[in-house]
Symmetry: C2
Subunit: 190 residues, 2 copies
DNA sequence: GAAAAAAGTTGAACTAGTTCAATTTAATAA
DNA sequence: TTATTAAATTGAACTAGTTCAACTTTTTTC
């Protein structure tokens, strides 16, 4: 089954009955995305949520000064969307771009919203996932403010080896919040 | 009624029936907290979630170098906890300290967890609140990485005037991720 | 209301990280 | 395979923000 990975991910986070799981999963549709292709671009409105089956995506913004700022990467078994644009139906400041040829399952906003109502376990699923994500953001803020660029780089490499191996240094630098030149210098002086 | 504020906050985020609301709210207990008192200290395990009725709290960590790092402030109508410690029942890295004499409603972890099961609207409430919080964290990361300290300071003052008025510059600096000396210099050169 | 403690200010020396520009290396496309 | 484009490296000059220390002002405590 193509969406076994999705089903495992779901049941890891919330208790779904077999029928609930089937009902929920049937709203997801498969999409192939080629390297460098965009799933969402700054200025659009996000009307989907995605679950990565294969490949890797980068979720980033480009600020007024033209600097790229990476919010996060989404590899296999990760969820992705612009939650700000999705919730408020405001124009997105984010770009979601495939860094490698990728396979993804998508669910439309309207479907997701109605599933919150029809399947209570869906509420629990996203409540739990959102709270886990909050923990991650909180930890990241602490790291950003208390560690040097070098320490953050080492942390990233050690904790996300499967992502780190798929992306280039410019992208890592934009995630760490430093220039790619400085990242190059950091790596030098080991 | 003492917890009108809580009830308004809840119904703003999720549809509760009158009886659900009463049932949920009766698990909250009131607590007075004096200025400088701690609701949680680094090393403890967080077993509660709180809702601020009056006053102001600071949620911060002290890193190895001894620097204070403020995650957020919680004033009237805000929720507060260490979600990391609460979820994982791990020892907390955070301190939650009252910055002024405060009044707060607390709910115990065990009660909250069982209410997720007994009242489905509670799932929705915290799903929605968590997602809104995620949006806020995402926006803050972008600001932190794309704006100067001065810009972040101005943003904070303009967007959280009721908090800014209750706290001192050392605390603002630790929220902005800069030294208090530098904040002082920023304010000077207007 | 005086004494003590904490917060805020200022300057000088410093450092982590940036910017720009030139060069090399690697990846992509025709 | 070669030509082209993008990524990575390096150095030099720079800047945003830190650190430390001394001093002033405000707040707290007894």
């Amino acid at each position: 089954m193509i969406n076994n990975l999705l089903k495992e991910n779901i049941t890891k986070n919330a208790p779904f009955s077999k029928t609930e799981l089937e009902e929920f999963c049937k709203y997801f549709y498969f999409k192939n995305i080629k390297k460098t292709e965009f799933l969402l671009e700054q200025g659009e409105i996000c009307k989907f949520e995605g679950f990565v089956l294969e490949g890797c995506f980068r979720i980033f913004t480009i600020d007024k000064k033209g600097n790229e700022n990476t919010l996060y990467f989404a590899a296999k078994d990760w969820w992705l969307m612009d939650i700000d644009s999705f919730m408020n139906q405001s124009t997105s400041n984010l770009n979601i771009q495939a860094l490698t040829d990728s396979k993804i399952l998508l669910i439309n906003r309207a479907d997701k919203l109605s599933l919150y109502e029809s399947i209570p376990a869906v509420e629990k699923l996203f409540r739990v996932m959102s709270q886990k994500a909050l923990v991650a953001w909180q930890r990241r803020l602490i790291r950003n403010n208390s560690q040097t660029a070098k320490e953050r780089y080492v942390y990233f490499i050690n904790n996300y080896p499967n992502i780190a191996s798929k992306i280039n240094d410019k992208q890592i630098a934009s995630y760490l919040g430093i220039s790619h030149e400085f990242l190059s210098k950091i790596k030098r002086r080991n």
